[in-house]
């Protein structure tokens, strides 16, 4: 009887972590996406382009580098899901949304750092790096997305 309690307890803890991860993680993701969509709509008038614009910008009064970054972590449930996916192969949707969230959040923060007087953000580069290896040694636990570009202000905007 006593020997059965150990593994059972482990199983209970595991299931608890999975369910907490599932509910809290799904809720957090939903909220984050809502916030991203809302802010993306609000910042839509400042275009962030990956082009460099070789021609001169005669009306531009100044340019300044701006950046934004975000570190987003995956929840326990999705980590298990991705672990299973790695065995069978195929599309790892759990990580797709994780990286998508981090990148979009980084772009939004870059725009927020640039401020409302910006006309355009040129030469936007996005970089992603894994800073995992924290809790579950080795797996992609969390990723950092960094977005940076040059904010251009035209003279009439100061």
């Amino acid at each position: 009887m006593m020997e059965a309690i150990g593994p059972l307890l482990n199983l209970i803890i595991f299931l608890l972590l999975v369910s907490v991860g599932y509910f809290a993680g799904t809720l957090a993701e939903k909220r984050h996406y809502q916030s991203i969509q809302k802010r993306e709509a609000a910042w839509l008038r400042i275009p962030a382009v990956s082009a460099r614009f070789d021609e001169k910008l005669p009306q531009a009064s100044g340019g300044e580098m701006v950046y934004g970054s975000a570190v987003i972590s995956i929840d326990y449930f999705k980590r298990i899901l991705a672990g299973l996916r790695i065995i069978f192969g195929g599309r790892v949707t759990a990580y797709e949304s994780l990286i998508d969230r981090a990148r979009r959040e980084a772009i939004l923060r870059m725009k927020e750092n640039a401020g409302p007087n910006t006309d355009i953000i040129l030469n936007v580069r996005i970089e992603t790096s894994s800073i995992g290896n924290s809790a579950n040694g080795g797996s992609v636990g969390s990723i950092e997305a960094l977005a940076y570009g040059t904010a251009i202000r035209t003279s009439q905007n100061g």
Binding site: L57, G63, I72, D75, E105, S134, A135
Partner: protein, 104 residues
Amino acid sequence: MILTNIETIPGKTIVEHFGLVSGNTIRAKHIGKDILAGLKNIVGGELTAYTELLQEAREEAVSRMKQQAQSLGANAIVNVRFSTSSVAQGASELYAYGTAVRVE
């Protein structure tokens, strides 16, 4: 010191080039923050402590790059790039590099 990641500085002309300048910093994670992040890993979401840590480290790399440019007599850095690499478990390197120039 003006920084851009395009080849020019809008509204100004480059009069002198000084070549490549760079700055780096290697940061390790704080163990307490790591434990908190480990807990946060269960529910997922943003790891604010890490975002701040990396942001701070990146600013340091940029300020080292600026110092190097200043000592050369430059007043701007164009074509700035960032790069991140993990050197060891729990530590990552933030690197910033660009071309130091003098503008008028």
